[in-house]
């Protein structure tokens, strides 16, 4: 049985970050875009927590808490806006969100 070390956490974090990044690029549904963003943030949280544990320094874990708190509030605001958008336009497709076209 292999010991689970820092590298494994970092690889997991990288895989999750890549998944999130692809999600951000590929998804057209606004709701799923939020999911992808959450995956991005949480991949970073994993890295923070793992490195913090590795060095025996709590700062990284504290930072992860901050990220979770900010992500929660960001999602709350984002979902609110999303509901308003859906009420007005009946869709949450990203391509319909092009009023800033230059």
């Amino acid at each position: 049985m292999m010991e689970i070390g820092l590298n494994h956490y970092l690889i997991l974090s990288t895989i999750l970050f890549t998944i999130g990044l692809i999600g951000v690029m590929r998804r057209k549904n606004l709701l799923l875009l939020f999911f992808a963003t959450e995956i991005l943030l949480n991949s970073v949280n994993i890295a923070f927590a793992a490195i913090s544990h590795f060095y025996g320094d709590l700062t990284g874990q504290m930072f992860a808490f901050f990220v979770i708190a900010i992500a929660a509030s960001e999602v709350a605001v984002g979902l609110g806006l999303l509901i308003v958008w859906h009420k007005r336009h009946g869709t949450i497709d990203l391509d319909s969100l092009a009023t800033m076209r230059g």
């Binding site: 951000v24 690029m25 057209k28 391509d95 969100l97 076209r101 230059g102």
Partner: protein, 640 residues
């Protein structure tokens, strides 16, 4: 005394700026009156300075402020009032005050009245800077300033094609000469390390002769342009396109004499190089004869007077070239008075004849224009050099100088020219004022000029008559700074023979002119008479075909060369490069515009791409720093 120096210098500038305030508004008398009164102030200040200098006072030198101080180069705005510059200041302020007051009448009906006074006063200011500066740099500022004002004033009636052409011609000719002048000034600076007259001239005797010769030649090239010496003379006759007061002030009395002033001012230099001096004198004698011959047949009143100016400038250069600097300056002064008077008289005639310039179409004007007739006759007598008017004392002195210095060819050329001068001057007077009243054929009703214009001219009339009597006072004054060579013919008999001979010759020339042109048989030439078809007449009336040669062999090839350069170098290389750079930027913008689609999904993709790009740059850079030693080793192995 410094106060008067500044007052004399800056009053014209104040006048110019004041008139410029009204530049765009319709004619306001105050825009002419204030500059004229300020010039009067300047004249009074100059007189006070003259009295100070005459009373044996020390020359006044001031350093107003530092202009340039970098390393070893130190050029201040310094001014000096010594015996030479105070003479020039008097000439400039007297003539310009008269011309300013006269112009109030002359430009009465002109739309550009206010503008005119602004330019005219600016000219006087530049001229004052030129003559009062105590270093070559200040002289050059004034030199360019008068050139600019001359351009503005020749082209004053800019709606006339010929006026703008003449203005540009004058400006370009002067630029060519100014290049020579600049090189001369650079040479002075390189070899002496200073531009202050006093310091530079003090160092000159120790310099090698060939450098001094180069300095002398290049400075004289500048003088040739301003004083319209051959072959840069064509602009002066064409400059007569400007208003007549301008011709009187700039193209007769002051600006064109700046070249003579330069040679006089640089007398310590020219004393060291007598060969260049001899060249200057020979050129002067040639120009005197050459210009006088063109004046003989010309049919344009102002051009005749312009050629006469040219001829007299030649006399001045003869004197300056032969080392008789004070004689040159004296003739400059006397000439300024009677030539300005002659021009202003011509201005009156032009007004009366509705801008007609051909003296053959006038005749018999002495009745309607009695005072102008008297003034122009006196000015012509003075110009011809008849005793006891101003010209006799100054011009005959130049003849004597040539004689005493044993330059007999120059002497005989000048003597012959004196006869021609008398002839063409009185040809003009006879054609304008005597004989049949030919103007009636053209339905003109001449009238005398305003009384105040005549009164304004009166000081010049008096000076043209009495200027000769200042000779000894003047000699004692300027010889404090100029070489004090007294010119006396050794034998009394020779002196009297020369003087009486010259006088008789001149009087005969006058009589001949009167006989030929002051009778009723003079007709308006129509190109059919025998005289007009003679070869020599054609050569002279076409100004020796020099303008034609310039046009054919200089201007046209230059224009063709310019066209080639424009089409092939400018358009295809310079413009293409600049347009190419602009085109690349423009098309880059055009192509990358699609990035801004407004679609969130696309923007996110670009964002990711940007992040990845920056990250990889950071990684590459980090690696490069980390392994810099190894990279250097590899590069040096490759021989870079």
């Amino acid at each position: 005394m410094e106060f008067y120096l500044y007052l004399a210098l800056f009053a014209p500038l104040a006048g110019s700026l004041f008139a410029a305030l009204f530049g765009a508004s319709p004619k306001t008398l105050i825009a002419g009156l204030v500059p004229s009164l300020l010039l009067l102030t300047s004249f009074v200040s100059s007189t006070i300075l003259l009295v100070h200098i005459l009373g044996g006072g020390a020359p006044i030198q001031v350093e107003m402020m530092t202009w340039m101080a970098t390393g070893d180069l130190y050029i201040p705005f310094g001014f000096i009032v010594d015996q030479v510059s105070v003479t020039m200041m008097m000439v400039v302020t007297v003539v310009s005050t008269v011309v300013h007051f006269y112009s109030i009448g002359y430009m009465d009906h002109d739309k550009g009245f206010n503008r005119f006074f602004s330019y005219l006063s600016a000219f006087v200011f530049s001229m004052m800077v030129l003559v009062m500066s105590d270093n070559f740099a200040g002289l050059f500022i004034g030199w360019e300033g008068v050139g600019l004002c001359s351009w503005l004033l020749i082209g004053f009636w800019y709606h006339k094609e010929s006026a703008t052409w003449a203005a540009n011609e004058a400006f370009i000719m002067n630029r060519i000469a100014d290049l020579g002048m600049l090189i001369g000034i650079f040479l002075v600076y390189w070899n002496t390390g200073t531009l202050q007259y006093a310091e530079a001239f003090a160092l000159m005797p120790e310099l090698p002769t060939d450098i001094l010769v180069l300095m002398g030649i290049f400075l004289f090239i500048g003088a040739m342009g301003k004083s319209a010496q051959f072959p840069l003379h064509t602009w002066l006759a064409d400059a007569m396109e400007g208003p007549t007061p301008v011709s009187a002030l700039i193209h007769a009395a002051t600006m064109v004499t700046a070249g003579v002033y330069l040679v006089v001012r640089a007398n310590p230099l020219y004393d060291l190089i007598p060969n260049v001096g001899l060249f200057i004198a020979s050129l002067g004698a040639f120009v005197a004869l050459f210009a006088a011959s063109m004046a003989l047949v010309n049919r344009d009143m102002k051009r005749i007077i312009a050629y006469s100016t040219l001829s007299q400038l030649g006399y001045m250069f003869v004197a300056a070239g032969l080392g008789a600097y004070w004689v040159a300056l004296f003739h400059l002064m006397a000439h300024a008075f009677f030539k300005a008077l002659l021009f202003l008289g011509a201005g009156n005639v032009m007004h009366a004849m509705h801008d007609e310039l051909d003296p053959f179409k006038m005749g018999g004007l002495k009745k309607p224009m009695k005072w102008t007739f008297i003034m122009m006759t006196v000015a012509s007598v003075a110009l011809a050099g008849i005793y006891p008017l101003a010209g006799f004392f100054s011009k005959d002195l130049i003849l004597e100088v040539a004689m005493i210095e044993h330059h007999y060819i120059i002497y005989s050329v000048l003597l012959f020219t004196a006869g021609m001068t008398a002839f063409y001057s009185f040809r003009l007077v006879a054609l304008i004022f005597h004989g049949e009243e030919r103007y009636k054929l053209f339905g003109v009703h001449p009238h005398e000029a305003y009384k105040f214009m005549l009164i304004a001219m009166a000081p010049l009339l008096i000076l043209a008559v009495i200027a000769g009597s200042f000779k000894m006072t003047y000699f004692e004054m300027v010889t404090a700074v100029l070489p004090a060579t007294e010119y006396h013919v050794h034998s009394v008999v020779t002196y009297w023979i020369m003087t009486i001979g010259t006088q008789l010759f001149v009087i005969l020339a006058i009589a001949f002119a009167y006989k030929k042109y002051a009778n009723s048989s003079v007709k308006v030439p129509d190109g059919t008479s025998k005289m007009e078809n003679r070869l020599c007449y054609k050569i002279l009336s076409n100004q020796y075909y020099i303008p034609y040669i310039f046009e054919e062999y200089l201007v046209k090839p230059y224009r063709e060369l310019s066209t080639v350069l424009w089409k092939h170098v400018d358009m295809k290389i310079v413009d293409a490069t600049v347009d190419g750079i602009a085109g690349i930027i423009y098309s880059t913008g055009e192509k990358t515009r699609d990035m801004q689609s407004g679609n969130l999904s696309t923007m996110l993709k670009w964002m990711v791409a940007g992040t990845v790009g920056l990250l990889s740059l950071a990684v590459v850079f980090g690696l490069a720093v980390r392994y810099s030693a190894e990279i250097k080793a590899i590069l040096s192995g490759l021989g870079v």
